[in-house]
């Protein structure tokens, strides 16, 4: 209430404050807005009424007009309701009232709202604190509310569920429960039915929980159909339910499943429960069963029972003693026997509810018991009767049975046997064993493995040996009842066995240790012994050996013999004559040879027990025999067939072997041969040897060193040479028996070797190159000359193709021809152009010959080559000279033909010239004289004459005829000079050196070669007039100059290439002891890389067909070789070349001068 009061006070204070504020604001604003004070005061009244309520609002409504009146309405400061103010009072009051009412209405609404909110909050808190989860959802599956507790139940927070909606929840429901949940949801919203389902839900953490979800029904709110519900976790309840159900089911099954009949009666004797078995057992009719009173039932059962008295008495007794249990056996008339058991039914607190009766049909068991008893009795009797000690134990280790024999055997005290505990007995028995520990271990083992049977021989401390057999006692269907132990004293048997074994082992070892096959058969044809060797020998199958019957084995064995008839015969004979022994050899089908020995086996008194057969494999021995025979034969054949003389001398010096060859070789006299000792023989041989000293010392040495071999050559006085080989005769073990001497006549071979050595030396040192090739053309030998010739060494050539060094293409055809010839086995002769290692080519005359072996097969080729480059060059030069000579002869012939006409042409021209010169003055005289006279005598004729003179241009004729003649003469002279130059150039008559005018030679050469140079070059000559005639071959020298001029012209032609002319300058100089000729051109010059090759024969830079490549080679040869001169050149690429030739003037010493 205090607050409300305080609010009122503030409300009342608010009225004057706001009015004052309005007054303060309106004073300055009034000048701006007229009548603003009214609005302001109006606003102030409204504000006070709104915030302060009715009272303050009315106060403000009253104050406002007064204030207006006082401050704003004239007359001023009239504190009271002026006329001007009065109209304001009512509107202000109404306004204040309206504002106050509105304000209070709003406040009431606010309060109601707050109260509702509070209620809701309370409810919400309540819900939130409930263990169950409450929820609200609409029909569209939107989850409108879910209490936060949900996280505990479903694992999802309510926010997650808001987001996921109903779909999320449905998605986690167990698939088995989902249809019922969905149909429930459907019916909730569609039919408004109550929703109550239990289902399994998988929590967010994956754990399944049982959930009970229920909702009253759907309702509509704000147009939306909603449903509210609660979720409760019922997992614990569900589990308990399941357990209870299982227990009930178990109990039910328990009651119904056993073979026992069960009957439960309450304290009033009413039947509460009776199982099917019970009904079946007593063949209870249905109507009796319907009656819960047990007496009817009892009445039905009693007549079936053999002895009803005790039966009933038991029932009576137990009914009167409800706390007792009882058990008895009931025998029925039909022979069945029931085991009846009865016990009170009580709860935990001991409250008595009734009694349970259990009946068990033990008819079969009873019968089995009787049977067992009889059997046991029989068994015990049997056990007592056995010589073996028998102990039977049941599955639990209790002794069921033991016989007297056991007790005797083990000397078990009676007291111990009477005791119930078998452990003592067992302990006692074990103590008797020689080795108790393994005995105990065995027993332990067998109890752990009841199914195992075991038989052991056990030795006792006192030396007895027992055969202990232990086997499980099992029922017909394999069930284990216990174990029977049988003990048999085998001490005696063991002793005999041991003896037999050792004897047998000894026998078998003996039989097996022999390499012979052994078979012992008793008189009943049973096999007593067969050793391994025999089994192997005849490959007797083990199956046959399993039985001791010898008949099948014998058949098997005889089948292996090549001659089965003979084998049969032998066997039959021996068995019918037991006392006979036999030894024979047989061959088996596989080629082995056997020696068979058979003898009877007799006792000490001569009694016949059987027969022993011994088989010995003598295949190897037979082979050795054969081998030895053949070897011996071979050796003898070898000794006699060899070309060597052979002598074998024993250690003692006696001759063991000598063959015919040796006798012939040394021409050994018969009397020496008769002597068995080697001594005389040696003397004889020594007398034949050229140098007996070393011969004898070698023999001496070898006699002292019998193990050594030696080889040497012996020369005899008659010149024959023997190859002597000696070796000791030893066997494989190195035992020395003697010494073998082999002599071979190698006289011919020595001679051949010498010849061969001489020949090979001749080849190696031959002045011609020799190459040997295999049939593939690969080199196998080259001699020294080859290396000198080609530059290839032996090592470089071996294995290489011979053709590989003949890569000069110009010889291709010749090489093909060569191979064709030699492959056919023919010899080939010809000339080849080859290449040296340094790339130089040379001409070789070659002869290639195939070497044939004895069969005519080509084994090698021999190529013999000679460098004929020189000769070829000479031939080339000769050809050149012959050509020159030919040209010369032709020139001479032509010259003759031309010379004669030239003679008279010249003569006539000379005549014309002279006669013209003589005639012209005469003619002129005529003219002068005639003209004068004729003008006077016959003017007409004179005019005509003048005309004629003019028309034939007599003056021109007079002037030109002499010149025409002079030029014709010049022409004729030129013809003559050319002809003479040709002759001079070729010098056909100069077969030997003659003095020649070099200048003249150059001139005539230039003339002859004019056609070569005149289109490309000017010719300039500079002759030394002091040059004396030089002794030379003028034609050849001219040819040299010609070559140089032609080369010069070609070089220039190449350079000018049709544009302008170059220049050729030829100079001759007298250099005192020699004449120098130089030929210079302004041509291309000679490239450096070919400068060193230009004098090589056949080297040319001109295109094919243009040059022979022989010009400079020829020139070089002429100048240097024939004239003892020099030729060299200066060249500058692109500028030209000058060739210089020096020819000696005093060349008397040159060899060529000799005639």
């Amino acid at each position: 209430m205090g607050i409300r009061w305080k609010g009122s006070i503030l409300g009342y204070l608010l009225a004057p404050v706001l009015v004052a504020v309005a007054l303060l604001l309106s004073a300055p604003l009034r000048s701006v807005v007229p009548y603003v004070e009214f609005y302001l005061f109006f606003a102030a009244v409204v504000a006070v009424a709104w915030f302060g309520g009715r009272g303050p609002g009315l106060l403000a409504a009253l104050l406002a007009p007064l204030t207006l009146d006082y401050f704003f309405l004239p007359p001023l400061y009239t504190l009271g309701f002026s006329r001007q103010a009065r109209p304001y009072i009512l509107p202000f009051l109404l306004t204040a009232l309206a504002a106050a009412w509105m304000s209070s209405t709003r406040a009431a609404a606010k309060r109601a709202q707050a109260a509702r909110l509070e209620d809701e909050e309370k409810f919400r808190k309540l819900l939130a604190n409930l263990p169950d989860v409450s929820w609200t959802t609409d029909r569209h599956g939107r989850m409108l509310y879910m209490s936060p507790k949900v996280v505990n139940v479903l694992g999802y927070t309510n926010r997650e569920i808001y987001a996921g909606g109903l779909a999320l929840l449905l998605g986690r429901i167990h698939a088995d429960d989902l249809p019922s949940v969905q149909s429930a949801v459907q019916s909730l919203f569609a039919g408004g039915k109550a929703f109550d389902v239990e289902f399994r839900f998988q929590r967010k953490d994956g754990e399944w929980v049982w959930v009970h979800n229920r909702a009253i029904g759907a309702y509509e709110k704000d147009g939306v159909i909603l449903a509210d519900g609660v979720i409760t976790e019922i997992s614990a309840r569900k589990q308990a339910e399941a357990e209870s159900q299982a227990k009930t089911a178990f109990l039910g099954a328990l009651v119904n499943s056993p073979i026992d009949g069960i009957l439960v009666l309450d304290s009033n004797g009413r039947r509460i429960l009776q199982n099917e078995r019970m009904t079946e057992m007593h063949q209870v009719p249905r109507q009796i069963l319907l009656d819960p009173d047990h007496r009817a039932m009892l009445k039905h059962v009693l007549p079936q029972i053999k002895n009803a008295g005790p039966f009933v008495a038991q029932i009576e007794y137990l009914s009167s003693h409800p706390e007792k249990t009882g058990r008895d056996e009931i025998e029925f008339n039909d022979g069945r026997v029931f085991d009846r058991y009865s016990a009170p039914v009580k709860d935990n607190s001991g409250k008595y509810y009734g009694r349970i009766w259990t009946h068990r049909d033990i008819t079969e068991r009873k019968r089995a018991e009787i049977e067992l008893r009889s059997k046991t009795a029989f068994l015990e009797a049997q056990a007592e009767a056995a010589i073996d000690g028998i102990v039977v134990m049941d599955a639990e280790g209790r002794r069921i049975l033991h016989n007297r024999r056991v007790a005797e055997m083990f000397e078990i005290p009676q007291a111990l046997l009477a005791g119930p505990d078998h452990n003592d007995v067992r302990h006692f028995m074990v103590q008797k064993l020689k080795e108790p520990v393994p005995g105990l271990a065995l027993i332990e083992h067998l109890y752990r493995h009841p199914e195992e049977a075991r038989r052991e021989e056990v030795e006792f401390v006192d030396g007895r040996v027992f055969d202990v057999y232990s086997a499980p006692v099992t029922g017909s269907s394999g069930e284990y009842y216990g174990r029977i132990w049988t003990f048999r004293d085998i001490t005696e048997r063991k002793r005999y066995e041991l003896e037999l074994k050792s004897k047998t082992a000894f026998l078998e070892a003996q039989a097996d240790s022999t390499i012979d096959g052994m078979l012992v058969i008793d008189r009943n044809f049973r096999r007593i012994l067969v050793n391994r060797r025999l089994v192997e020998m005849f490959e007797i199958p083990q199956a046959l050996l399993a039985d001791s019957d010898q008949i099948p084995v014998r058949k098997h064995m005889i089948d292996r013999f090549k001659d089965r008839q003979a084998a049969h015969a032998l066997v039959d004979y021996l068995y019918s004559h037991p006392e006979e022994t036999s030894r024979s050899e047989f061959e088996l089908t596989d080629g082995r040879a056997l020696e068979i020995y058979s003898a009877p086996v007799k006792g000490s008194q001569g009694e016949y027990y059987g027969r022993v057969w011994t088989y010995r494999d003598i295949t190897q021995r037979k082979q050795y025999e054969m081998e030895l025979k053949s070897k011996t034969a071979f050796l003898e054949a070898q000794v006699n067939s060899t070309i060597d003389g052979i002598l074998v001398v024993g250690q003692d010096g006696h001759r063991l072997l000598i063959n015919q060859q040796l006798i012939e070789m040394f021409r050994v006299p018969a009397e020496i041969l008769r002597h068995p000792h080697d001594g005389p023989m040696l003397e004889h041989v020594t007398s034949l040897v050229k140098d007996p000293g070393p011969f004898l010392s070698e023999i001496e040495y070898l006699n002292q060193h019998p193990e050594e071999t030696s080889r040497d050559e012996i020369e005899f006085k008659d010149g024959t040479v023997f190859d002597r080989y000696s070796a000791s005769v030893t066997d494989r073990d190195g035992k020395i028996y003697g010494r073998i001497w082999a002599f071979r006549d190698i006289t011919a071979r020595k001679r051949d070797e010498d010849t061969l050595r001489q020949l090979s030396t001749a080849v190696a040192q031959s002045p011609v190159s020799v190459v040997m090739m295999n049939p593939d053309g690969n080199v196998t030998y080259v001699n020294q000359r080859f290396t000198e010739l080609t530059g290839y060494t032996f090592a470089e050539m071996i294995g290489k193709s011979w053709l590989g060094i003949h890569s000069d293409p110009s010889s291709k055809a010749a090489l093909a021809d060569l191979w064709n010839a030699v492959r056919e086995g023919k010899e080939w002769h010809g000339e080849l152009r080859n290449k040296r290692k340094n790339g130089q080519t040379y001409w070789a005359a070659a002869a290639v010959t195939p070497i044939l072996d004895a069969k005519g097969v080509i084994t090698h080729f021999v190529a013999v080559k000679e460098d004929i480059s020189e000769r070829r060059a000479m031939e080339t030069e000769l050809r050149q000279a012959q050509k020159l000579e030919g040209i010369g002869q032709l020139a001479a012939g032509i010259a003759h033909e031309i010379n004669t006409p030239t003679q008279f042409v010249t003569d006539n021209l000379t005549f014309l010239q002279e006669s013209w010169q003589a005639a012209v003055p005469v003619f002129n005289m005529y003219r002068t004289v005639l003209r004068d006279r004729l003008l006077k005598l016959a003017p007409a004729a004179a005019v005509e004459l003048q005309k004629a003179e003019q028309s034939c241009d007599l003056d021109f004729i007079a002037e030109e005829v002499p010149r025409a003649i002079a030029q014709s003469l010049e022409g004729a002279r030129r013809v003559a000079s050319i002809v003479r130059a040709m002759k001079e150039f070729s010098h056909p008559d100069s077969a030997e050196k003659t003095d020649a005018d070099l200048n003249q030679g150059v001139l005539s050469t230039i003339t002859v070669a004019r056609n070569e140079w005149k289109y490309v070059a000017e010719m300039e000559t500079s002759f030394d007039k002091t040059l004396p005639p030089i002794l030379c071959y003028p034609g050849e020298v001219n040819q040299v100059i010609l070559n140089l001029v032609v080369n010069a012209a070609h070089s220039i032609k190449e350079k000018v290439n049709g544009n302008g002319k170059g220049k050729i300058t030829i100079c001759t100089r007298n250099r005192g002891s020699f004449a120098e000729i130089s030929v210079s051109d302004t041509g291309m010059g000679i490239p450096e890389e070919i400068q060193h090759r230009i004098y090589e024969p056949f080297f040319t830079t001109k295109e094919v067909g243009k040059g022979t490549g022989q010009g400079l080679a020829f020139s070089h040869s002429v100048v240097v070789r024939k004239h003892g001169g020099k030729i060299w050149f200066d060249t500058e690429l692109g500028r030209g070349t000058t060739f210089f030739i020096n020819l000696p003037l005093q060349n008397a010493d040159v060899a060529e001068e000799k005639l």
């Binding site: 001479a892 010259a895 003759h896 033909e897 010379n899 004669t900 006409p901 030239t902 003679q903 008279f904 042409v905 010249t906 003569d907 006539n908 000379t910 005549f911 014309l912 002279e914 006669s915 004729a972 003559a976 003479r980 002759k983 001079e984 056909p988 008559d989 100069s990 077969a991 030997e992 050196k993 003659t994 003095d995 005018d997 003249q1000 004396p1028 005639p1029 002794l1031 008397a1148 001068e1153 000799k1154 005639l1155």
Partner: protein, 414 residues
């Protein structure tokens, strides 16, 4: 005096050409042209001729046959071959009957020169019948032992040209013949050859061999001739003069050519004596016999017994054979060089001086036929040098005496 010439050629146009070309010589020469050998012989029989110029190859009778006949019948004619044939073989075949060989086309000036020279030499001869003898001569006989040496040497294939030259340069006859051949037109196409060495070089050893051994261009003296005894003296003299002339020329001019020419000329200067000894032995024997104790000069004796001096005979032979003018002149004027009107040193000078020097010391009267032509020597200013040249000869003699003491004896014995 008009010379009468006969031209023979089977080619009429050649004859016509010659007639026309030599038309200018019509004043000096009377020329006849015939086109066959037979016609030529007819012409020669019908009238006297001075020279015959014939082609070589002609149908019927060829040039060689014609000239052989001409030589027999008309010995004094100058016989010249003018042939278009130029092979050496042809020339060699013509060597015997022809004096000279000219090849077509021939510069007629050369022909004129050679003929005129021959005519001039002949005209000089005071004894014309000698001309006939001379022009008939195929060869000048050689000394038998030299000829023998040569044939022996040539039979040896290894004999060098130099060795041949060595022999020939000692024999006047062979030297003369070699020079004749060398100056045949074909070989000496470029001027005449006056050097024996050059001549041999041109001809070549092979040709010399065939000339000597198969064509027999050389001949040897008849050993039984009355004059044979004089030969060695003349030979020694000729060689001595040749050697000295050579030395004089080389010391005086330094020219090898001049020296060679001087040598050749020296060798040939007394060729006339040899001709006379060979052809007119009796007459010349008289000359020689008259030399002793006779006041008449050698020349006078020659004219008296033979009809003309030997130098004329020699000169004529040389000119007919076509030897170079200097040699002919030197032969002709070697006694009186001043007559040749030479104003400078020539081979004539060398030979004359050498001859004079050698003769002075020569034992044989046959060689005492010359005195120094003082006019000539003085004109050339060589008077002072003569004693020095005489010394050269002394050296030569002493050297020769050492090397070839038995030269004469050998010559005589063979």
């Amino acid at each position: 005096m008009t010379k009468c010439l006969l031209f023979v050629d089977d080619e009429q146009m050649v004859l016509d050409g010659l007639r026309r070309a030599l038309w200018s010589m019509r004043g000096e020469w009377e020329m006849h042209f015939v086109s066959s050998g037979a016609a030529a012989l007819d012409a020669l029989d019908s009238m006297p001729f001075d020279a015959v110029v014939t082609d070589m190859r002609m149908p019927g009778m060829d040039g060689v046959q014609l000239l052989e006949l001409v030589k027999e019948r008309h010995g004094n004619l100058v016989r010249i071959v003018l042939s278009g044939q130029s092979s050496k073989d042809a020339i060699l075949r013509s060597v015997a009957p022809a004096h000279q060989f000219l090849s077509k086309p021939c510069n007629l000036q050369e022909l004129k020169a050679r003929l005129n020279q021959a005519f001039a030499s002949r005209d000089l001869l005071s004894n014309q019948p000698l001309a006939s003898i001379v022009s008939r001569m195929r060869s000048i006989p050689s000394l038998p032992h030299l000829y023998n040496d040569l044939t022996v040497a040539l039979r040896d294939e290894n004999t060098s040209l130099r060795q041949i030259e060595e022999i020939i340069s000692h024999d006047v006859g062979m030297a003369a013949k070699i020079l004749q051949l060398a100056n045949s037109a074909f070989i000496a196409a470029h001027g005449r050859v006056s050097s024996l060495h050059e001549a041999l070089s041109l001809i070549g050893a092979e040709t010399v061999r065939s000339l000597t051994l198969s064509i027999h261009v050389f001949s040897q003296f008849d050993r039984n001739a009355a004059t044979a005894a004089h030969l060695p003296a003349i030979w020694d003299h000729s060689v001595a003069v040749a050697s000295l002339a050579h030395r004089i020329a080389i010391t005086e001019t330094g020219s090898k050519h001049m020296a060679e020419e001087s040598f050749t000329t020296g060798l040939l200067h007394d060729v006339g004596k040899i001709v006379l000894l060979a052809e007119m032995p009796k007459e010349y024997q008289q000359v020689v016999a008259s030399l002793d104790g006779n006041n008449q000069s050698f020349r006078e004796l020659e004219i008296k017994y033979v009809g003309c001096p030997h130098e004329q005979i020699g000169a004529y032979l040389m000119s007919v054979w076509g030897l170079p003018v200097p040699i002919v002149q030197a032969v002709e004027f070697h006694h009186v060089p001043s007559a040749a009107a030479h104003t400078e040193f020539s081979s004539l000078t060398a030979v004359h001086c050498a001859d004079a020097i050698v003769s002075a010391s020569d034992a044989s009267p046959l060689n005492h036929d010359v005195d120094v032509d003082t006019r000539h020597v003085e004109a050339l200013g060589l008077v002072d040098i003569l004693p020095q040249w005489a010394c050269f000869h002394e050296e030569y003699l002493s050297a020769n005496a050492r090397n070839q003491p038995s030269q004469d004896a050998k010559a005589l014995s063979t």
